[in-house]
Point group: C2
Chain length 597, copies 2
Amino acid sequence: MPSYKAPIENVRFILNEVFDVSEIAKLPGYEDATPDVIDAVLEGMAQFCEEVIQPLNLSGDAEGCKYENGVVRTPKGFKEAYDQYVAGGWMGVTSNPAYGGQGLPHTVGSVLEEFVTSANMSFGMYPGLSTGAIRAIEHWAPEHLKQTYLHKMVAGTWSGTMCLTEAHCGTDLGLIRTKASAADSDGSHKITGSKIFISAGEQDLTENIIHLVLAKLPDAPPGVKGISLFIVPKFLPKEDGSVGPRNGVMCGSIEHKMGIKASATCVMNFDEAKGWLIGEPHKGMRAMFTMMNAARFGVAMQGLGIAEVSYQNAVAYAKDRIQGRALTGAKEKDKPADPIIVHPDVRKNLLTMKAFTEAARALSVWVGMQLDVIEKHPDPKVRQEADDLLALMTPILKAYFSDMGSEVANLGVQIYGGHGYIHEWGMEQFVRDARIAQIYEGANGIQALDLVGRKLPQNMGRPLRRFFHPASQFIEAEMENPALAEFMPHFAKAFGKLQQATAIIAQKGMSNPDEAAAASTDYLRMFALVAMAFMWLKMVKVAVAKLPDANGRASFYDGKIKTARFFFQKMLPETETRFRTIMAGSKSLMDLDMEQF
Amino acid sequence: MPSYKAPIENVRFILNEVFDVSEIAKLPGYEDATPDVIDAVLEGMAQFCEEVIQPLNLSGDAEGCKYENGVVRTPKGFKEAYDQYVAGGWMGVTSNPAYGGQGLPHTVGSVLEEFVTSANMSFGMYPGLSTGAIRAIEHWAPEHLKQTYLHKMVAGTWSGTMCLTEAHCGTDLGLIRTKASAADSDGSHKITGSKIFISAGEQDLTENIIHLVLAKLPDAPPGVKGISLFIVPKFLPKEDGSVGPRNGVMCGSIEHKMGIKASATCVMNFDEAKGWLIGEPHKGMRAMFTMMNAARFGVAMQGLGIAEVSYQNAVAYAKDRIQGRALTGAKEKDKPADPIIVHPDVRKNLLTMKAFTEAARALSVWVGMQLDVIEKHPDPKVRQEADDLLALMTPILKAYFSDMGSEVANLGVQIYGGHGYIHEWGMEQFVRDARIAQIYEGANGIQALDLVGRKLPQNMGRPLRRFFHPASQFIEAEMENPALAEFMPHFAKAFGKLQQATAIIAQKGMSNPDEAAAASTDYLRMFALVAMAFMWLKMVKVAVAKLPDANGRASFYDGKIKTARFFFQKMLPETETRFRTIMAGSKSLMDLDMEQF
């Protein structure tokens, strides 16, 4: 069975040395988020993940969720673990203190999301979905609904879901058929229709489940401009806040999935269920995007979380498994064979995992900090800039991290050889669990379209500048820094190619949108690699500065520099190919007739 | 549930137009393999695969194999399907007529392996393992053992296995602990030990199971030079050829695997089981490689087979699923949305699948033909050349095809979106089934080492010339061919880089073997891409020539040219990055200390 140790030393390095989380703590409302408090939260969550939910991961996968007559049973131990999660106050870590939350920065919250996924991705789905729902209700619901729902949801005794997809539409929500009646005298609407792929739509963990449901009002214009968002509780709350009669919503079945089997994926049937409008009529998509952006960032963290745990176990196995001899002569002569970590190709796989995971964590903290700036910074210009960077980077993180989560998990299986393919060793579960992250919350192809079609042109390229400016400035400031000499020319070159690709996509895409779309996935990947290189440079700069007086930590800093070297020599060159395939344009894709496929 | 139609038109194109299978039919012993016969065999197998085993694929995965007290039960329908397979004479298609086989060329046999995998990879494991065992027995066993076993095995009423791996050793077989006693008076040995990961080690399909087992004789030298190969039947054959008393071999349990769940993967315990030596004492590895090379080629065909079926279903879904609108304006205005195949990125995924599958089939036929030349050609020089090409290309096909099988299956899931993640749709099963092909019969990292460490230096680079010569000759002959003008410079450039990489690896690897090993996986992939480009050029050449008089087939040939264009513009450029990362050398991999991982 795999093991997991939360990577606290690496997290501290990113939060405190590469970035400065104490800057976030200076924002109004975050005064309590001192380094001590953050440290205690990290350690508390690490312990919960390592001791409570990680031991349930493999058994949860084997057992899965069970469905009978509308009732869903989560695997053995999940209810108890969830109760501990609630008792520890973990549900409300980043939520508004007005509703009982601890109001800690999202920067910290996203690190916790990584830990939870590493330990038990399926378990993490339950609080994860609630977080999105809480955010949407807080943002869009009228005060009386907030008062009714948020305290319970922040406490974790009630949970939340997002009900978007229907059997015939996922990406294209304009096609939804779920209907909402005109408002009744009490202000509620009757919701009727069927939703699929609803994570945590039904479960046995919480006393109530609060669904956020997209539906069409009677006077709705066609398409996405006619969608409204409703709050539909499983049980109707009574005046005193306790749970009242059952509402007209039932789980019809659960899916048999490739992975995250301990997370219930439900068909939810609404039959004249009472619902309350949140946000404006027909403007539900806007409200839904409040959830969606947070959810996309959360999915990125899932990719990182799976990569981290897969890496940890792959390293342990590679050091432990003896098989064959080093090509340059036996390394451990007293043993019948050497550990497989002596082999260059095994190291290449391990370093790919490590180089991704560490830079991705840095990138996620940089982007995650923007969430806090957006919410708390007094200066609207600074808030706008943070919002722009977040908008730009969200599709990149969602797609690249989830693609790499799968890639890294597969490398982990490969290092285990035949044992990697066997359930009991746990490595193949990471592959199956990770796979969904490339699909849900907007498949990765959609993320790439969002990047080239929406984020690049947005406000005349304003979001783009939030990455291009700091990258340019870094090049200008550090180009002659001898400590970075081996890296900077490669970074400048890759960044130059990214700028060139950006200009060409913008130009060609104007006359033919298929040109931008044809380039989109290659462009997103290229962008991500340049952003990762940027993070490695930031880490190297710190490591070089600290190394002379590092004493016991010298190996740690030295390891960062060596891993950066690997990234620049073995991973960044992928940008060359991506640039070439972007330049090749859309013609070879669009030329085939339907019947030639 | 997925569907499958054997790609007979594409197979005929490769067998008859791109290559000339009638040349193989001219080899002594293949006189009966006329185009008509081959066509009938292809169509018969297509029908069996489409109608008998494909419908059992999804249910076989859901049900899996069951183990109880040493007995293994295959999923519902497998026994009946296997009986039909035997009744149809399919087991013996390529086997020696002296033992009841049909003696058809291996070129045809490998196409059939593709079909079987597409329809039901798990099912294919049962006859697949037998094929390897038959080959090894025919090659190495003394005549009386051949007479005892081969007729039954070729008929399919008895099956075969390969028992190599033990819990503590897979790649490094020198570490095995299974023991063989000195020969008893009847010439048999007592075999004692435990083997794991034995595919088809126990099942309910055949009346006897013939294990080929690696074990160490009492006087064995240490390491791989002390391993002998034994034939160990589950039931000891009686004089009359019928099944006699149970031998001391038992299945101890079966594995719970990520995929190929309908294929029983067994722990096999040998307790003083009677076994007979085949091949020379202590030279079992050589005999084992007779099976292994065929098995590796078979694994390559599995990668292709999964890619083909995944592609077929992805295309069907992309044409059927309506969602959103084409970016350049609605394509099907009468429908609420356009099919997703209008989108450039969906087409890019489909074309990646298609461009791989079609060129891989061509490459497999080219390499597969060498198997027939090796066995039947009267000229030893020609046989040697065929053997060299096969030796060179086997690790490339095994690793690249199986890597791409997984990659393509994952693209198939992605095209289905959320439905791709659900068992009932069948696409995620392809991912899980395909994954093992990257691991077994030598993990792909081992294939890459075999390529750079063994095949490149072998006989002063002689095997290498069997690819480099025809590629050079093609460039010389076709460089000025206007019909290939858009492709040839790119091919020449990529081939030039491959030659350059080869020279540098050979040179650097001489002084430091870690240098060759560090480059190995990138080099294998680069080699594979160049070989695929070579196949596309051969196909384009035929298509261009036939197009003017093609009439009803014009779209078919035109589709080949367009797909080649996609390959050259979007897939071949990967060689650039691979060249760069090869050149970066081993230092960034080897520099990290153990504790820095």
